[in-house]
């Protein structure tokens, strides 16, 4: 279990230099060369003391590494360090020796402090513009020693947000399905991890197929489909208690679960006598309300951030296409007209785009505006499927399946330029990633 309450900012955000001449990075630059050089030396400690997660000096090194990795993996920065960089004194953290960081456009400093033992650690995080010799931001975090990675992600988030002007996203978690075994008897387990793949944990043991998880907006529970009992049903798994319950009691198959943005409503699909429609039900339980009513397959769905609309997938026209309707099921209209089939729509948390799977020969990850226009294809795999948005709506994760008898699936990430793609490091193969919001 995470202990969100222990993480508190203790420095007021302080911004020093005028905005006009400062460093900045454009997240929409698709030249592939938007790599700002950032030095990330090891964070010094005022006194090297032991904690359950390692000594404060060790933590200073590990935190700098996570910050550098986060920045590198965003594709927008070219961080260096902490290995191969000189030690930084505590004095330098607030008074950098800018002349010794030539060749870098930005400099990250910070520190780790602890009273020792189980007491919380304090992590400082500073960003400097080396040309202007100015401080761009400073942040501080107090966390339990075991949550040191969260302090590192918060620091990377502060740097990312300050340099790009975008909302942060590193300090977030992902639910997904860990896969192993042969293609015709694949073992599929519900698992969770940090946004960078760390703190990986299996939740189900693989005896029953698990599919399509979704973190609740408060990270307390996970919706997913389980084949336990040889039926297809949606469960809500409570991360704190380890218990789960059915979302709705029915003899029919229920699948494709989704949360509303406020976490109060669950959208799901149910097949009655072979015909699948979309329903909603209170997260507390109760009688489901049917939202679609066609002989076609109506499945999935994703709320707009304000909760007023739902984008979903239907083959009522004869092939899979995307439709938008009111949250009460009213006035459905088709938005996808770009040719081919469209599936698995996900509304960006920013509201400006809808991501989906576009099927035109192979399967691609694509985005379009909510009116169905401005379609852009971001990936080019054999079968890229089921995008999920980063909390800031700037990065997508999806899964990529390879053709052939192995048929391995892996979790991948791509930003909105389509240029920065990478595979997430998971202990096994993976599919159905679902990115949660920024951690509270």
């Amino acid at each position: 279990m995470n202990h969100f309450s222990t993480l508190t900012a203790f420095f007021a955000l302080m911004i020093a230099a005028p905005a006009s001449a400062q460093l900045s990075v454009d997240v929409t630059d698709d030249s592939g060369s938007a790599s700002l050089k950032i030095a990330v030396p090891r964070l010094p400690t005022s006194q090297d003391v032991a904690t359950p997660a390692g000594s404060t000096a060790e933590l200073g090194d590990k935190i700098a590494q996570v910050v550098a990795d986060d920045l590198k993996n965003s594709g927008l920065f070219a961080p260096s360090g902490p290995s191969g960089m000189r030690a930084v004194s505590m004095e330098e953290v607030t008074t950098p020796r800018f002349d010794s960081w030539s060749g870098f456009e930005a400099l990250v400093h910070g520190f780790v402090r602890s009273a020792g033992g189980d007491s919380n650690i304090t992590v400082g995080c500073y960003l400097y513009d080396t040309a202007l010799k100015t401080e761009m931001t400073r942040q501080g975090y107090v966390v339990a020693p075991r949550d040191w990675r969260r302090a590192a992600h918060k620091c990377a988030d502060a740097i990312y947000a300050r340099l790009t002007g975008e909302s942060p996203f590193f300090d977030s978690r992902i639910a997904y399905i860990a896969e192993s075994g042969p293609k015709d008897a694949r073992i599929k387990r519900l698992a969770i991890m940090d946004s960078d793949g760390a703190n990986h944990r299996f939740i189900t043991n693989g005896q029953s197929i698990a599919l399509t998880p979704r973190f609740s907006p408060d990270y307390r529970s996970i919706l997913y489909v389980s084949y336990i009992g040889k039926r297809v049903r949606i469960f809500v798994y409570d991360i704190g208690t380890g218990k789960q319950r059915l979302v709705t009691e029915s003899t029919n198959a229920t699948f494709a679960p989704r949360w509303s943005p406020d976490g109060r409503t669950i959208l799901f699909s149910m097949a009655v006598a072979g015909n699948t429609d979309i329903y909603r039900v209170s997260a507390q339980g109760g009688v489901p309300v049917r939202l679609t009513n066609t002989p076609g397959i109506d499945v999935g769905g994703s709320y707009s951030p304000d909760g007023s609309k739902i984008v979903f997938e239907s083959d009522r026209s004869g092939s899979q296409q995307l439709y938008v309707m009111g949250a009460d099921g009213s006035n459905p209209y088709r938005i996808s007209y770009g040719g081919g089939r469209y599936a698995t729509p996900e509304w960006s948390p920013r509201g400006d785009l809808i991501a989906c799977t576009k099927i035109a020969g192979d399967f691609h990850i694509a985005v379009m505006t909510p009116d169905g226009k401005n379609e852009r294809i971001l990936t080019d795999g054999w079968q890229d499927e089921a995008p999920t948005w980063s909390p800031n709506g700037r990065v997508l994760q999806f899964f990529r399946t390879s053709a052939g008898r192995s048929g391995i699936s892996q979790v991948w990430q791509v930003d909105l330029t389509g240029v920065n793609q990478r595979r997430l490091p998971t202990p096994l193969s993976g599919s159905d990633p679902a990115w949660g919001p920024l951690l509270p």
Partner: protein
Amino acid sequence: MPTLTRSLMIASAVIALSACAKKTPEELPPPPAETAQPAPAPAPTGPVKGSQEDFLASVSSDRIYFDTDKYDVDAEDQSTLRSQAQWLAANPTARVTVEGHADERGTREYNLALGERRSNAAKNYLASLGVDSSRITTISYGKERPVALGSDEQAWAQNRRAVTVTVQ
């Protein structure tokens, strides 16, 4: 029921068209005898009456196949399902599950819905032959349990299937 009516209407439409569409995969069991015939009585030394082995030994096939993104029951499928209905008539206490499957070239959740369509199409046809529908449950596996592992048309054709399995 609207869905049943619709499935049967489609099924009838496809009977008329079935001459022009060859959809069965290459590696199939031999086609069943043309005319309906009573299920053969199990030999004294054969499988236990009512068992899965008995079912497999008695029916022309335990599965029917579908075209891409389709769920209609064509003439060949009907013949297969007739043999299953005959076995069910001869084993009135037996219960079955029809498992609906899709090929890998579809998105996961759509394929679950497609597998539901296919298993229900088979169930509805069995029911139309007089099998009490309470004896037939359905489950969709979508693309989760292929039988053919390749990524080619022949493998996909084998995976687009509805398989009848006895419930023991």
